[in-house]
C-alpha cells in the first residue's frame, strides 16, 4: 500500500491546478511566480468573489486561501467552495491567526492551516498532500459507483 501511495505522490504534480486567493499583491505574485517556476499550473486572484467565479468556470484541484480578506473573508469562501465543489481541497493561509478561526476552518473541511510567511517548500508539500487526498477521494467515489 505504501508503494502505491508513494508512487502516486510522485505523479501528483501532473494535471495539478492550483488557485491562490490573497488580497496582498506582493504575496500573491511571489507565490504564483515560485509555483510557476516549478512547472505548476497556478492562477492567482485577489478576492473571494473572483475565486468563486473562477471555480465555476474552470477546474482546480487545490485552493490556497487567505483567511483575512476584505469583502468575503476566508472562512465564508471556504464554506462556499465546500458547498459547490466538495472535492476541491483548501489550504488556509493565516497571518495573525485566531485559533478560533483555525478550529472553524478545520471543521468546515479545510485540509490544513499554514502560517504566513510560509516557506515555499512547506507549502508545496502540503499542496501535494492535498492533491493526493483529492485523487484518493475521487478513486473512492469511482469505486463506489462501480459497485452500485
Amino acid at each position: 500500500m505504501r508503494a502505491v501511495a508513494e508512487g502516486r505522490r510522485g505523479s501528483t504534480m501532473e494535471g495539478l491546478r492550483v488557485l491562490v486567493v490573497d488580497d496582498e499583491p506582493d504575496f500573491l505574485e511571489t507565490i504564483v511566480k515560485r509555483f510557476q517556476r516549478r512547472n505548476i499550473d497556478v492562477v492567482g486572484v485577489d478576492n473571494g468573489k473572483a475565486a468563486l467565479d473562477l471555480l465555476e468556470e474552470q477546474h482546480f484541484d487545490v485552493v490556497i486561501l487567505d483567511v483575512r480578506m476584505p469583502g468575503m473573508d476566508g472562512l465564508e469562501v471556504l464554506k462556499e467552495i465546500k458547498k459547490r465543489r466538495p472535492l476541491v481541497e483548501v489550504i488556509m493561509l493565516t497571518g495573525h491567526a485566531s485559533v478560533e478561526s483555525g478550529m472553524q476552518g478545520m471543521q468546515l473541511g479545510a485540509f490544513d492551516y499554514v502560517i504566513k510567511p510560509a516557506a515555499i517548500d512547506d507549502l508545496l508539500e502540503k499542496v501535494q498532500q492535498a492533491h493526493e487526498r483529492k485523487l484518493l477521494h475521487e478513486d473512492r467515489l469511482r469505486n463506489s459507483k462501480l459497485l452500485q
Binding site: 500500500m1 505504501r2 501511495a5 508513494e6 493565516t94 495573525h96 491567526a97 485566531s98 485559533v99 478560533e100 483555525g102 478550529m103 478545520m106 471543521q107 473541511g109 479545510a110 485540509f111 490544513d112 492551516y113 499554514v114 502560517i115 498532500q129 493526493e132 487526498r133 484518493l136 477521494h137 473512492r140
Partner: protein, 309 residues
C-alpha cells in the same frame, strides 16, 4: 458468577495443596526422611507460587476487561447520541429558517412605516437578538450534523510530528499573549503514520485549544509524540491548567457535556474528537488531578488495518 466460583475454588485448592504439602513435609522431616521432606516442601512452594501468579494474572485480565467494557459502552453511547442528534438537528433547522425569514420581514416593515422612535429602537433590538440566537442555534445544529455525519476517513501517509508542530505553531501565537509556554518532545522514531491528516489536525487543535482554555494565563502546555508498546503512535497533550474534577472525568467525552459558562461552549468538541479518533481505529483517554492539570492521550494505529478502505 459460575466462573468466579470456579476460579476461587481453584485458587483455594491451589493454596490448600501448598499448605498440605508443607504440613506433610514437616511430618516427614521429623519422621526421619529429610530428603522426601525437602522434595515435598518444594512441590508445596511451586504450587503456592503458581497459584499466586495465576491469581495476579486473572486480576490484571479482569481490570483490562473492565476498561474495555467501559470503552465499548462509551462508543455505543456516542453512536446512539449521534443518530439522535442528526434527528434533532434536522428538526431544529427548519423552524430556524422560518424565524430568520420573519426577522427579515419585520425589518422590511420597520423600514417603511412610521413608528415612535423608541418603539422602533426596541424592535430593532429584538431583531438583532433574534438574529444572534438563530446564529447560535445554527452553529449548534451544524456541529451536531458534523458529529453525526458519516464522514469516512481518507488514509494518507503523514509525518505526525510535523502535523502536531503545525498545530502547535497555530496555537502558540495566541498562547504567547497569555504567557503560556508550549514545550515539545517529539520522538524521532515515529515513521509516517497512515491516517486521515485533516481529521487528526482537528483533534490535536481541539486539545491544544482546550489546554489553553484550562490554563487561562501563565502556564505550560507540553506536547509529546511517541510510539506505544503495542506499536501505536501516541500524541500526549499535558497542561498545567485547572484540571478536571474526578466526577466529571467519565463524562467529558459525552456530547453536550461542558463546564464552560453557558453560551461559551457547545460541549461537542471532545465528543467530536472521540468520534474522529475511533473512526481512525484509535482511542483517546484523559487523566487529571484537579488543580494540577490534565493529560490527554491520543493513540493512532501507524499502519492501516486489514479490511479498511
Amino acid at each position: 458468577m459460575v466462573r468466579f466460583v470456579r476460579l476461587r475454588l481453584g485458587a483455594f485448592l491451589g493454596y490448600s495443596a501448598a499448605a498440605l504439602s508443607t504440613l506433610l513435609a514437616v511430618g516427614l522431616w521429623f519422621s526421619g526422611s529429610p530428603a522426601f521432606a525437602v522434595g515435598i516442601f518444594l512441590v508445596g512452594c511451586t504450587s503456592y507460587y503458581g497459584t499466586r501468579r495465576l491469581m495476579v494474572d486473572v486480576d490484571r485480565a479482569n481490570a483490562q476487561k473492565f476498561l474495555l467494557d467501559q470503552q465499548l459502552i462509551q462508543s455505543q453511547k456516542l453512536a446512539a447520541i449521534g443518530e439522535l442528534s442528526a434527528g434533532i438537528a434536522h428538526e431544529i433547522n427548519n423552524p430556524l429558517a422560518i424565524i430568520g425569514q420573519e426577522v427579515e420581514w419585520m425589518r422590511h416593515i420597520l423600514q417603511n412605516t412610521r413608528h415612535a422612535e423608541d418603539q422602533l429602537e426596541d424592535m430593532r433590538d429584538s431583531c438583532r437578538e433574534i438574529t444572534r440566537q438563530v446564529e447560535r442555534c445554527r452553529d449548534i445544529t451544524h456541529r451536531l450534523l458534523d458529529f453525526a455525519r458519516k464522514k469516512e476517513p481518507l488514509m494518507q501517509a503523514v509525518n505526525i510530528n510535523r502535523l502536531v508542530e503545525d498545530m502547535a505553531r497555530l496555537v502558540e501565537k495566541e498562547a504567547v499573549h497569555k504567557r503560556i509556554r508550549i514545550l515539545r518532545d517529539y520522538s524521532e522514531n515515529i515513521a509516517s503514520v497512515h491516517t486521515d491528516p485533516p481529521m487528526v489536525r482537528q483533534v490535536v487543535l481541539n486539545l491544544l485549544i482546550n489546554a489553553m482554555y484550562a490554563i487561562g494565563e501563565d502556564g505550560c502546555i507540553a506536547i509529546t509524540t511517541r510510539t506505544s508498546e503495542n506499536g501505536a503512535a501516541e500524541v500526549v497533550v499535558r497542561d498545567t491548567g485547572c484540571g478536571i474534577a474526578q466526577e466529571d472525568q467519565g463524562r467529558i467525552f459525552d456530547p453536550f457535556f461542558t463546564t464552560k459558562p453557558q453560551g461559551k461552549g457547545t460541549g461537542l468538541g471532545l465528543s467530536i474528537c472521540h468520534g474522529i479518533v475511533s473512526k481512525l481505529g484509535g482511542s483517546i483517554s484523559v487523566e487529571s488531578e484537579p488543580g494540577k492539570g490534565a493529560v490527554f492521550t491520543i493513540r493512532l494505529p501507524i499502519r492501516r488495518f486489514a479490511g479498511e478502505g
